[in-house]
Amino acid sequence: MMDPNFLTIAEASDLIAQRKLSPVELTEACLKRLDNVDDQLNSFITVTGERALEEAGAAEAEIMRSGPRGAMHGIPFCLKDIYETAGVRTTGQSRLLADNVPDTDCDAQERLGRAGGVLMGKTTTWEFAHGGPSWDVVAPPARNPWNTDHHPAGSSSGSGAAVAAGICPATMGTDTGGSIRLPSAVCGIAGIKPTYGRVSRRGVLPNCFSHDYCGPMAWTTEDVAILLGIVAGHDPRDPSSAREPVPDYRAALSGEVAGLTIGVPYRWLEEEAPASAEVRAAFDASLDVFRSLGARIRSVELPPLEQFDDAKKTIAMSELFTIHEKDLRTRPHLFGASLRYRIICGGLIRAEDYIQAMRMRLVLAQEVQAAFGQVDLIMLPTAEPAGKLETTPHNWLFKHKGWTTAFNVSGNPALSVCNGFATNGMPLSLQIVGRLFDEATVLRAGDAYEKSTPWRDRRPVLSAKVDA
């Protein structure tokens, strides 16, 4: 049998169902891997080892008695440390919440728990999922397992690192401007920002209410489909939660992409935020894969990236200030410098500016939906490969133009998958964007791509304290 640490959820659940792998063995392997390599990665901020072994034992007994409840029964998972967990510290990576132990679980923990998942712990993030990387917060930032001198992006940093390193096969991140897709991209895994309202935000510390999305991250798109099938669905206690039927995402992975029309926003990639030669070559090669599978490629025109950024940042700074106003007024020294810089001006933005930005959001979202009248999917790179982990100038927030935020503004589902490796060994990435609530087509395309390319066969190599 393959090393349990590098089994996908799909593979591990098959072995568990056949009683060839026990949830306890799998959980022990994950905890051992964590113990062996996480001092190099800082991917976990809290480990719930004892609880995980208890949950794994209970899962094992139930599976032996009556079979598995589903694909996540007995599978370890971890949550970004802004997902509230009853009785388990939830810090948001902030000194303000260093000792915060919630009384109740977030919706995602409830659903994953009901599915029989095994909570391994909480993963490192940026402070309140917004400011970072920082060294003046409650724990040091995570590192990238493909090269620990490099960053794993943010803000679901620890989640991306933990999955790629084989510490844990499943995790939940959040994405307000790219924070699921960017760590997935630079850590070489798969991660989806679903449609706004598809996955409940209840019990997740807010970054910016109007642009926050919860979504799964895992080694393969198939695993992401398994997880999304569990966490998606209406939650009456989240006012933004959508009443949309949830299809069987895993069953939708037919491998069939022939006949799909894929739009590419070439102006973004060539004029507004030009891709590096390596990223562009990998992207063009990915399009060739889809052509060979029978898809059509065409150019698509979308509004300027800057307009998406301006609308989102105006809204986000205002909402962030509102969320943190009491602490900013009374104990600003407890924020990390990065987050404080990013949000302190939010109090100086007028209500009129906020509402004008919300009007702009509506127009931008309409234009993106109109583009989907011509194409089935939009594809573009997710990010440049990760650079060195170092202090980022605070004003990078205002100067950087990325390829992810537009779809937080528009609300569309967007998946990141690995589409190769740079010459320095760091992962490259492809972003696949779909129509509202059509995660099934997005996942189908991502899965077909992964199964047509060799990138899922390579894992990062880390030196272990003891041979795992």
Partner: protein
């Protein structure tokens, strides 16, 4: 179009209006960040028609207690 940088005294007033009584050490960050915010706000499209809606709509049934929401 280059914007005129805000006068420090004006910024102190804006910060005070926002309820911020910041220590001196945070002011350089506030000045720097606000410069970027000014540029961003200046780019926001204005002059929309009176009836142009923002991207938020209040759906009162969403806020009914969980047990009273329509299935």
């Amino acid at each position: 179009m280059a914007l005129e940088p805000i006068d420090r005294e004006e910024l102190v007033i804006l910060a005070k209006n926002a309820g911020l009584n910041l220590p001196e050490e945070y002011f350089p960050d506030l000045v720097d960040a606000y410069g970027h915010v000014q540029e961003m706000l200046a780019r926001l499209h204005r002059g929309r028609a009176r009836g142009d809606e923002p991207a938020h709509v209040f759906v009162p049934k969403t806020f009914l207690p969980a047990g009273e929401q329509p299935a």
